[in-house]
Symmetry: C2
Amino acid sequence: MKHQIYFTPGPSQIYYTVPDHLKSAVKEDVMCISHRGAAFQKIFGQTRSSLKTLLNVPDGYDIYFTSSANEIWERIIQNLVIESSHHFINGSFAKKFYQFAQSYQKSSTHTTVADGQDFEDLSIPEGTELISVTLNETSIGFGFDQNKLKQLREAHPDKLIALDGVSAFPAVGLDLNLVDTAYFSVQKCFGLPAGLGVWVVNERCFQKYEEVKKAGVVTGSYHDLSDLKSNGDKNQTPETPNILGIYLLGKVCEDMLFRGAKMIQNDTIYKATILYQALERSPKFNPFIDQKTTRSKTVIVANCEGGNAAILKALAAKGFVIGKGYGSYKDSHIRIANFPVHSKEQVELICDLIDSF
Amino acid sequence: MKHQIYFTPGPSQIYYTVPDHLKSAVKEDVMCISHRGAAFQKIFGQTRSSLKTLLNVPDGYDIYFTSSANEIWERIIQNLVIESSHHFINGSFAKKFYQFAQSYQKSSTHTTVADGQDFEDLSIPEGTELISVTLNETSIGFGFDQNKLKQLREAHPDKLIALDGVSAFPAVGLDLNLVDTAYFSVQKCFGLPAGLGVWVVNERCFQKYEEVKKAGVVTGSYHDLSDLKSNGDKNQTPETPNILGIYLLGKVCEDMLFRGAKMIQNDTIYKATILYQALERSPKFNPFIDQKTTRSKTVIVANCEGGNAAILKALAAKGFVIGKGYGSYKDSHIRIANFPVHSKEQVELICDLIDSF
């Protein structure tokens, strides 16, 4: 089988150090050790500590592990919302989170704009307890304007803000002080096997959790915030977790720290810029998001004249697997992941192929 | 570092083929592929099919994947119980499931016997919707008598029976027709890295799920039964799952099928028998469970005169890592896992060491 490189928006190409870390995991019995023993506690502590440095997590914010970002949507609704959250929806994933709130019978609200358009109206209903913002909408490549996030923070100091950092962290920098909780899964920018979600929460979330409890709302069971905290304080998890996933995440965080978060973020901007330029130069493609300030840096989405079949095939012939469009855009869009594992040289090659297409 | 063999009751020694399957996973890009593509669907389908054969899953029973057995406790309460479940509790894990029901504000009931004792009274409150039985209580090595399971089935044809198969399947055989739902995690008898739960449900569970829905109860979100089913019918999962875990499970199931479920179960009985005999011969130990019919075949628990420190140390010196006691038995019990990965020769060595201790 010819070697392929995955530029799909997640799961994506695994970080180039992962195969070696898997070998170490076997050698170090990472898959055999007890989740209640000192060896696991050390792994947990190291992963947390590396993540804190890499993401510049402020003091007073804690990190917990779940099985996916989907699970964190559910845990946020269970633990941090009594009656109503408000969701800024610009794409399928932001919408899914809103639907989770509906499944939990919350009277949540939303501001939805047409795909590709920016949010003009930042107003929020009075009773909103938690505001949901998707930093990088993976379905259509929309990047939420961080200035608007600041405006929301200033306008609503009494409300919690939850940030979906899926397919953004750590390739897109963000001051986490702007939000109360943020979360992501590891199969995107971290280049890791799927099956792990990372949940960052601050002290205000714990205060809100106490209110939710007091209101008599069910906050879940093993992954309710208090269980995550009482175990997390001991560098443990309530259940037997994806130990291998936590180990690999810690190792890849260390690799990324060696390269430097700023360097990764700058490389991301460079690669995004040349990809968008190539797409704009070509008569066959145009970036789906018009407004440059809201174009995703990590998931580059373009509309393809006459459908995406030909370009998918041409790139696959060179060993590059890129993503189809999401949902109704399945056949008309391409989505090119621009994650830390993707080198400038590879991206330049893709740009050349787009130019010659 | 000296090589060690883990006889801990989970996580435990990984199945001996796992390192090779990890190499194949890297080679086959298992960690890169999309969970919406044909390659993943093939993995999902193969794993399901091998599991069905290995566990002799009857027609009309479906298999879904979650992140842990803990999660399945939660999903059972959310999806299959409106007001009340009844729990047979003989140990910490059965009790935890009952506590999950309490967290979800159900008016669940329980029959609890003293640790190590058998259930004499099999009566169930009238309003019970679901009966919970733990086939193998990992905390104290208690095996639920399968004849009693039959009695429960016959006495309560109107109620669902949920069976906790953690640390039993596939080393302990069971006719799944006796229950409506069964579940386990893979880091026990399957010898796999933790982070995956397997949930078997029959059609009666789906009927009950419809009733729960109709009653207006919140059934969860992405892992509610209907979402698991609509995706599972396409060999997919609602969220991006632990793809590597599902792949490894399928591969290890194939390895186990090559050996044969019956052979694995017979070997388990042989190894359990000689372990219990060695413990009974020794003046320093006695099996925690007196009654032979309720002694676990897969988690052999013994009380240690004067504490477990000396025997743990003596076995560790020979490279055998066995488990401490659970909870309040931490220092007084030993727990020796007897899983398919553990060879007869290794177990015979442990018996010799117990004899000479």
